[in-house]
């Protein structure tokens, strides 16, 4: 699987993401400038975290209109993999590649702290190296991570098994107290219908090294680059 990272102006976790991809894949990802439109030869497109266009107007709204996003959309329609983390998740919802929206955190403050999230299923390209129900400790760093969708959409996501990760406590139990940003149904990450597009708010790419925050995120990247499990 060959990966590329899209660089929108204002993105700032692209280096972190590149380290994680390189660690799992054994080679550096291609860096894609936001004006590029040719993504041929890439299997995985990653939209990393940061503040694309300063989060001005609305988080992810302007990046979603970038020239590169037409190519990303076509890639997704062809069944290609797209991973959006934090601001990347916001861009994916703004671009219509994932349903719902990310609202201001319920606390109305930026939250930079460890969260615990639960792997909802381990039969996807992103999660097959985890156990179902496994609890991961991953850092979150966002002001707008409060996942929102209407009740029908949420029911569809649940019914189709498209909720990838949920905020939970250390024991894996979901509760209001263990939901840091107010997300609907404690959703931390969701999949597209074909399960090839994943958006999530916390940062697995910051957890690939025991010295800098533990390795709970590594299996996500290893899942992607492992020989196809299916």
């Amino acid at each position: 699987m060959k990966a590329g990272i899209v660089l929108f102006p204002g993105i700032n976790r692209e280096r972190d993401m590149a380290l994680a991809l390189e660690r799992a894949a054994g080679r550096a990802p291609r860096v894609i400038w936001h004006t590029e439109t040719d993504l041929d030869g890439l299997d995985l497109i990653v939209l990393p975290g940061g503040f694309s266009y300063g989060d001005y107007l609305r988080c992810g709204a302007m990046a979603a209109q970038s020239p590169v996003m037409g190519a990303v959309r076509a890639h997704a329609q062809r069944g290609g993999h797209v991973l959006g983390v934090c601001n990347g998740f916001q861009v994916l919802t703004e671009a219509g590649l994932l349903p719902g929206a990310l609202l201001r955190n319920a606390t109305l403050r930026f939250i930079a702290a460890d969260a615990t999230i639960r792997v909802e299923r381990n039969d996807t390209d992103y999660t097959h190296r985890y156990r179902a129900g496994q609890v991961l400790r991953v850092v979150m760093a966002h002001g707008d991570g409060n996942y929102y969708a209407d009740a029908a959409t949420l029911d569809r996501l649940e019914g189709d098994g498209l909720v990838a990760f949920r905020y939970c406590d250390a024991a894996g139990d979901v509760s209001e107290a263990a939901n840091p940003n107010g997300s609907a149904r404690a959703i931390a990450g969701i999949l597209s219908r074909n399960r090839r597009v994943l958006g999530l708010m916390p940062h697995p790419e910051n957890h690939i090294d025991p010295l800098t925050g533990g390795t709970d995120g590594l299996a996500l990247f290893e899942s992607l680059f492992a020989a196809s499990y299916a």
């Binding site: 102006p9 204002g10 700032n12 976790r13 280096r15 972190d16 380290l19 994680a20 975290g49 940061g50 503040f51 266009y53 300063g54 989060d55 001005y56 606390t107 403050r109 930026f110 939250i111 930079a112 702290a113 850092v139 760093a141 002001g143 940062h203 790419e205 910051n206 690939i208 090294d209 010295l211 800098t212 925050g213």
Partner: protein, 738 residues
């Protein structure tokens, strides 16, 4: 915005206008002498900002010269945009701390945000990628609603800017005292990493070379910000809001990336950010340091609004702007890089051999000033000093303890100066960049790996203003020693400091006396610890309605850990021996215990024995490097028992403590603030004590970790849950739960 706040004076310069611009009558005469005529409005503006306290250091320079600034590992000391030290592997650390005190009271969010932006530019200007931000904050009485508003805005501002530019905010310190009411201190520090042979300086060179402006457009914001920062506050804070700049971290992020991309080429001859006094100070300093002249054509300056005057453009402090001198044959390459990042790029002048700064606008010459006299004849004051009377030593046995150890600890650990800072640092992204090994709250200093190596930087900010108020010399030495100790406690080799001198009105002899004494104490500590000053900033006139802040020489310390995997934090694990290193006499003067429990801000502060400091620190670092220390914490505010509690809280594990020595009263032994001490958690306490004694370092076992309670030697017991509640309540109670 009210009309009367418009910064557009249409008056002819005279002594009255010069005084409004912050110049004294004598300084006005000096301007007339240099110019040989009445200056234009633009010229008077240039003189007034260049000769402001903020830009000229006219009251502090005579004292700053006493600070030691050299060591074999120092590459650039004070005088450049930031200090530069060798950190091995062909790399250099570039760092500085700078204040944004006055703006942060007038408009807390933007004041703090632009403080972060400004110090970031000082660092990446030199070719370094910023890898860490820290801060040192001082707020007024927490029960004052104004303080809450300031905290909220300052914390949001620091986070809003730092989070967006993608530089992790990894450490800092916070104090509260009523002396900071309406005069908070916001000191921001940035650390960057550069190749040691690719450091960029500001001295312009090459007559005829183009002077290039990049970054944001110029607007009328922040005009005379440097002058505002050089005056006391009175009741007219609202009217000063237009002197505060507005930050755009998105543009700063683009500017960082564009500058670093350009710096990878050979295009840049000199570069400087437009900070205080904007285009004026950057052009004057670059030409002055290079010994050349400079001509500026203001018609070419990218402008945010129509009809700006030369005076306004020269004095604007619009943010996110840089000035560069380029090789002429690389100007086109540079233009392309900035176009890619969608930033303004304009050739606005050239270097000359006239030794003058000439400013043209709409075909007219708006300023023509000789650079030599502007710098050489800048005012330099050796202001009178008065000594603050020393306070008496407080005999521990003569201080009554009505609360016992448990009651005292629960009060202390929840007090504003000691309570958990998680509410603050959980709003700062401390992990972006993927190199943060020790986050805020995890160790005495932040630990950030040097990307691509197995080494790490240790970073801290420190000052104990109540010690400085009681005895500025002892307090100055203590601030440096505590920074050194905090680096040691992670296993780092301390290398150098940046200082941020925050004081009151220097025209008052007692304030100038505090300043001079603090410098003496700092100098002695820097020398004894081989810990030179490589950069710094002075903020004077920190007074509101005639009342000065506590003297606050904030120290930013930097050290290197050769094996990043060997750094230690403060978190205890079960079944470790706790070993106290250093001498404990039970010093209660100016201790937090005396203030919070005894209700007295009184007595002489603890002295720092610099020889013992060095010896104890070298011993502790050797033990950490040897890998036998599982956790380490320096002893500071609140003394030994608070350090034990903080280690227990960080690790979520209880501790059983032994009785202290009989000859020292319990409260003095456990809460005294004797200096030069550490608490080590080790597997074999007896062996550690033996090693220490062999090295001539005082050591004693004081307890063992384990269980769910903190069991005190006077038979008191505190459950870890109760301790945590006391520790974690202050900020959420004050600011709202989240």
């Amino acid at each position: 915005m009210p009309d009367e706040a418009s910064p557009r004076p249409a008056r002819v310069p005279d002594e009255a206008l010069a005084r409004e611009f912050g110049l004294s009558a004598e300084e006005w005469l000096r301007v007339l002498g240099i110019m040989g005529r009445t200056p234009t409005l633009t010229e008077l503006g240039i003189f007034s900002v260049m000769w402001s306290e903020h830009c000229s250091y006219k009251s502090s320079r005579v004292w700053l010269k006493q600070l030691p600034t050299k060591a074999p590992w120092v590459i650039h000391g004070p005088g450049e945009n930031a200090g530069v030290v060798d950190i091995g592997d062909g790399l250099a650390a570039v760092f500085k701390m700078e204040s944004h005190n006055h703006p942060s009271f007038i408009e807390p969010y933007q004041g703090a945000a632009t403080g972060v932006g400004g110090i970031l530019r000082d660092v990446f200007t030199m070719g370094a990628r910023p890898v860490a931000n820290l801060n040192a904050l001082r707020f007024g009485d927490p029960s004052d609603p104004v303080t809450r508003r300031v905290i909220d805005g300052v914390v949001r501002g620091i986070g809003g800017y730092g989070n967006c530019v993608g530089v992790p905010t990894v450490g800092g310190e916070v104090n509260f005292h009523r002396a900071y009411n309406r005069n908070p201190l916001v000191n921001a520090m940035t650390v960057g990493i550069a190749k040691r042979d690719r450091i960029f300086l500001s001295a312009a060179a090459g007559v005829g070379n183009p002077v290039v402006y990049v970054g944001s457009k110029t607007g009328i914001d922040g005009i005379h910000g440097a002058t505002m920062a050089s005056a006391e506050f009175s009741g007219d804070v609202e009217a000063r809001r237009p002197t505060v700049q507005v930050g755009d971290p998105f543009t700063e992020k683009l500017l960082i990336e564009a500058c670093l991309e350009l710096m990878a080429t050979d295009a840049i001859i000199a570069i400087q950010d437009m900070g205080a006094a904007g285009l004026t100070s950057s052009s004057v300093e670059m030409a002055g340091r290079g010994g050349v002249g400079i001509e500026l054509d203001l018609d070419a300056v990218p402008q945010r609004e129509a009809g700006m005057s030369a005076y306004e453009m020269m004095l604007s402090e619009s943010q996110e702007r840089m000035l560069m001198v380029l090789r002429p044959d690389r100007a086109e390459l540079a233009r392309q890089i900035f176009a890619k990042w969608e930033l303004d790029f304009a050739v606005i002048g050239r270097l000359t051999n006239t030794g003058r700064i000439v400013v043209r606008h709409h075909g007219a010459t708006e300023a023509d000033i000789p650079l030599g006299p502007l710098a050489d004849q800048a005012p330099l004051y050796e202001r009178p000093t008065a000594t603050t009377p020393k306070l008496p030593y407080i005999e521990p046995a003569k201080v009554e303890d009505r609360y016992g150890l448990a009651g005292g600890l629960l009060r202390l650990i929840g007090c504003p100066d000691l309570a958990s800072r998680a509410w603050i640092y959980n709003q700062y992204d401390s992990t972006v960049g993927a190199q943060t090994i020790r986050r805020p709250g995890a160790a005495d200093a932040a630990v950030v790996r040097i990307e691509g190596t197995t080494r790490a930087l240790a970073l801290t900010t420190d000052c104990t203003p109540r010690y400085c108020a009681a005895d500025a010399e002892a307090g100055g030495a203590q601030a440096v020693a505590e920074a050194w100790r905090n680096l040691i406690a992670t296993g780092a080799r301390p290398l150098a400091i940046t200082d941020n001198m925050n004081f009151g009105n220097p025209e008052k002899p007692e304030v100038m006396g505090q300043f001079a004494a603090a410098i003496r104490g700092m100098s002695a500590a820097c020398r004894a610890l081989d810990f030179p000053v490589v950069s710094g900033n002075v903020s004077l006139y920190n007074e509101t309605d005639g009342r000065a802040i506590l003297p606050t020489p904030a120290i930013g310390g930097l050290g290197v850990i050769d094996d990043a995997a060997r750094s230690v934090g403060i978190a205890l694990r079960p079944w470790l021996d706790l070993v106290l290193i250093g001498t404990t006499k039970g010093w209660l003067g100016q201790s937090l215990w005396l203030r919070e429990i005894g209700g007295r801000e009184d007595g002489a502060p603890p002295p720092v024995d610099l020889d013992a400091e060095r010896k104890h620190g070298d011993f502790v670092r050797a033990q950490i490097t040897a890998g036998v220390v599982r956790a380490c914490h320096d002893l500071s505010d609140g003394g030994l028992l608070v350090a034990v509690a903080e280690m227990a809280l960080a690790g979520g594990v209880g501790v059983r403590l032994n009785a202290g020595p009989r000859e020292i009263p319990n409260h003095a032994f456990w809460f005294g603030e004797d200096q030069g001490r550490y608490l080590l958690a080790v597997g074999d306490g007896a062996e550690m004590v033996r090693l220490a004694e062999a090295a001539g370092v005082p050591a004693m076992r004081i307890g063992i970790s384990g269980g769910r309670d903190l069991t005190l030697p006077d038979r008191g017991t505190i459950s870890m849950n109760a301790l945590r509640t006391a520790y974690e309540s202050f900020f959420p109670d004050l600011m709202g739960r989240s």
